[in-house]
Symmetry: C2
Subunit: 304 residues, 2 copies
């Protein structure tokens, strides 16, 4: 079972090509699937990657350009024909909810699951929270209102020191509290500080999805200290002026954001169809931020 | 340049699979493209098959199930980013026009081409006519209102006998009329009958798209004498009862329709995802109608 895994369904830009599907990703957190963007064809890639409809309960739509959301109706109507139950929440701008509501009501009639909209805004906010993670919106700088999504694992439980648990004969009912940081008081009234009983928890990881956006240092500020950042790199620096005009970034700019944010790893995506091979984009970014990789359709990356 | 060519973009059924896209076809008549149905992903297959957006001016939607129309918004928004100009007409039921109008207005803003809806009804009618062809709707028998489309080439011009044209020194201005069947009167007032000057024209071909539909002899009546019929064959006869309940046909039933219609050729399509290999469907049909072939994504067939 994946602990915190990124699955890339598509990393192309506006016009789909034979090489790349339009934008879509799925974060798999212990078999709970979270989809980010849903370009046309995402339902098919999801099936090819054996990501189960039944496990998907949240879809986050960054903005209302077709290449980021036109797979929604198809995916949801196929889910209606399949094993899906429970509630599916679509986190989307209000205008998007209006746009899809009528079609979903028509094409997903008699669904065995409920479709809910959670209206998001182009501002910083926590829009989702579970026991394991929070999801925040990050304002981006595109031609239309657009947000990134910052996935953060919540602090994890401390690791028990097995020998100490044995030594102090700690009863089962106290174990969870000690993992959370409680001290232990022995039947004799002696306080054993938590630090004797546990070691630090595994680090909580984070992942930021930043697409689509023009270069803006505020993006780096918003995701400061993130472990892995996926940043759009539609063009090489040669087209820096077109990138700016269209609300997109170059590969070098994506690398600058990763560097400024102090990220550990950068994944480049949202490639213009002009590139038959993205090695130029990769090389450009690597001169600024070495731990960079290229996204690709069908790729899985453990974010731990 | 293709004279009358069928291009199959997808021939799967409700759930897209790695083997088959959902329904979509393009009839190419001397570089004028006519699309029939537009399942999700059709825009991509169109590009893979090098069928140009600029040449597509008419899209015919058989019915409002997602696998026959959910590629519309994506295709039209990509066309807006590409070289398309002029008018694109979508022939669709009124409910479909309502369903897509809002999305198209949003995702295809500032298009360099005009989008028009031609409202069709589930009845027999001529819905399109050009110099070269007519397109008629054929009532089908599905769970929701559904029509097939009958493409007919108009009668062609008669073939000139070159030696006769020379012998009678027929002026250029009279040539077109003679190809249309006129007699010729010499400057001396002698009538030369058309049959001396021309031979019969090439036959006018026809093509019927019949998907989705339960078996019904009325379909055969509607397409009597058609040259090529594409008929859905979702299942083998083993599932004849499910087919009937779901408004679909078996392969044997498709073959019976082709036989009853006196068609020359049958193309089977709209395959259930349960079949990894459609040879069973083909064999079943061939016992009833020998000149049967299986559709496949990316297939091109000259209908002449």
């Amino acid at each position: 079972m994946a602990q915190f895994q990124l699955n890339i369904l598509g990393c192309g830009s506006a016009i789909p090509t034979a090489r790349h599907n339009p934008s879509s990703q799925i974060i798999d957190i212990r078999d709970n699937l979270f989809m980010i963007d849903c370009g046309e064809g995402s339902q098919l890639t999801m099936r090819k990657m054996r990501l189960k409809y039944a496990r998907l309960n949240n879809i986050f739509i960054s903005h209302l350009h077709g290449d980021h959301c036109l797979g929604l109706t198809g995916l949801l109507s196929s889910m209606a024909l399949q094993e899906k139950s429970g509630t599916l929440t679509i986190h989307i701008f209000e205008e998007g909810a209006d746009l899809f509501d009528q079609q979903l009501k028509f094409f997903c009639r008699d669904t065995p699951y409920e479709i809910k909209f959670n209206i998001i805004k182009p501002e910083r906010a926590t829009i989702f929270e579970s026991n394991a993670i929070t999801v925040e919106t990050i304002p981006l700088f595109h031609r239309v209102p657009c947000v990134g999504f910052l996935f953060k694992e919540k602090p994890k439980l401390r690791h028990l020191k097995g020998d100490m648990v044995k030594f102090y004969e700690i009863p089962v009912k106290d174990i969870h509290g000690i993992k959370e940081g409680n001290d232990f008081i022995t039947p004799q009234g002696v306080l054993v500080p938590n630090s004797h009983l546990t070691s630090d928890p595994s680090p909580s990881m984070s992942y930021a999805y930043c697409s689509d956006t023009a270069f803006n240092p505020q993006v780096a500020e918003s995701v400061k200290g993130v472990n892995t950042i996926y940043h759009e790199a539609t063009y090489t620096n040669e087209f820096i002026s077109i990138a700016g005009k269209r609300g997109h970034s170059t590969s070098a700019q994506a690398a600058q954001i990763a560097k400024m944010a102090g990220a550990e790893r950068l994944i480049l995506g949202h490639f213009s169809k002009r590139y038959r091979d993205e090695s130029g984009l990769l090389n450009e970014a690597k001169t600024i931020f070495d731990n960079t990789i290229l996204a690709n359709d069908g790729m899985r990356i453990d974010l731990l």
